[in-house]
Amino acid sequence: MKALLRSGFVALIASTLAIQTCASWRSNADSNPMASVAAGLARLGIQPEQPMTTDVLVGHTMSCELPIHAMLLPIGGQEDERVSDLGLANEATRYIYLGSVRAKRSEAVVLSRWLLARARFVVGFSPVNPSDTLILVMLPRACRSLETMEWATLSPWQ
């Protein structure tokens, strides 16, 4: 019994080390999320103007003369003051995170999706570690057609 228990403990320690080593080498979160946003916008038919040069991406589409803005925000809310500084009177917002698209930011939705995606990554169901940034898209209110687009494409569920 004693030997069996000892073997069990040793096996658990060895497994922990093996899993941790594997976790180090597995694919981590998107290394260039801004480039991924630009690619996502292109898939929606929006041509990004300045990809990867600034932290705000400007895009144009054939159906709307006014520009569309996209930016990345940490899910912890560290940079939310930037959004308040923008003064979005003439723009509708879309907060996009792992398949969820909302007009207002919801901490509960972001956290629950991050937890679920993280759990799926940890147990090996998903190869991608969830990003710790959400995408904020600012749409001109004058172009109503933009609001019904498939914005989840920018950050699909993993």
Partner: protein, 316 residues
């Protein structure tokens, strides 16, 4: 004669073999039924969670390449307080429990902790530390060393959760309060400043800073608490009720020092560079360490006979 001899010799050999087998079986049964010691199970438990805890710390984060230098950098970034706490655990580890056999509950919880830490998450380490810490604190057969380790485990678990991604929104919320306090303090020195959520805009210097979770006054509190407990236990005393007031004083001192540092960071860009990345960072670390170490020393001085915080702390 020869066949008869052979025939006669064989039963003798057979009897010996049976005796040996019987002895071996008894030994095997003894091996199976021999219970594992409580101390040994405790040592295995400590070993399992320590391996998981430090593996999580050393594991490369997003964008890093796994390697020895990165692992060392992660350990150094994690802070000396955790190293100190684990040193205490290692020192006390050999004295956990007496030589009694382990109970089924103890063995089960050790395995449960071992299974939990298989998940490569800091949160899993925190959960396992909590389970083992509560077991060590609540167990009637646990001795003083076991209770010390239990306290450290619970404090480490709190620190792990406190600094995790899950509590970042809380620190951001505190960051907005820190920003407001920062602006008030700057105005006290006749420096024009405005606050936008968790950002401070120093109008006089045309300079702005944002309070990120790691910079807020709430972020280091769990480490300060852990350091307080570790120093008290290193001084050979159990945690007592009146120590809590000293612990609160230590936390308040930490908050005040962080607020002062944030004001220094918001003064101008030169000051920011000096206090955030330059020699000011080392000075602040040393200054912050002084109350965090002095307070537990003062708390333990001359109060050796007071009531222990934990009911069975002096029994073993």
């Amino acid at each position: 004669m020869l066949p008869v001899f052979r025939y006669a010799a064989q039963p003798v050999r057979s009897i010996e073999t049976v005796a040996q087998m019987s002895s071996g079986l008894r030994g095997f049964r003894g091996l199976i039924s021999k219970p594992i010691g409580a101390r040994e199970v405790a040592i295995w438990s400590v070993l399992m969670v320590s391996v998981a805890f430090w593996s999580n710390v050393m594991r490369a984060s997003a964008g890093d390449t796994p390697g020895l230098s990165n692992m060392l950098a992660h350990v150094l970034n994690n802070g000396a307080v955790d190293v100190l706490a684990w040193m205490l655990v290692i020192v006390r580890c050999g004295k956990l429990y007496t030589a009694n056999p382990a109970s089924m509950v103890q063995v089960s919880i050790a395995f449960l902790a071992g299974v939990i830490v298989l998940a490569p998450l800091r949160f899993a380490s925190g959960l396992a530390l909590t389970i083992l810490g509560v077991l060590l604190l609540k167990d009637q057969h646990a001795n003083r060393s076991a209770r010390d380790v239990g306290l450290i485990f619970v404090a480490l678990a709190v620190e792990t959760v406190w600094t995790s991604s899950l509590l970042q929104p809380l620190h951001v919320l505190v960051g907005t309060m820190d920003a407001s306090i920062n602006v008030l303090m700057l105005r006290l020195f006749n420096i024009g400043a405005m606050v936008h959520a968790n950002a401070v805009d120093n109008i006089s210097a045309n300079f702005a800073i944002a309070m990120w979770p790691g910079c807020t006054s709430s972020f280091p509190l769990a480490s300060v608490g852990l350091l307080f407990i570790a120093v008290v236990l290193f001084l050979g005393q159990p945690l007592r009720r009146f120590h809590l007031s000293w612990l609160v004083a230590s936390l308040i001192a930490s908050i005040l020092l962080t607020e002062i540092r944030l004001v220094l960071l918001a003064l101008n860009e030169t000051s920011y560079d000096w206090w955030h990345n330059g020699p000011g960072l080392s000075i602040y670390t040393i200054v912050a360490l002084v109350p965090a170490v002095i307070f537990p020393i003062l708390a333990t001085r001359g109060h050796r006979m007071a009531d222990p915080l934990l009911p069975h702390q002096l029994t073993a």
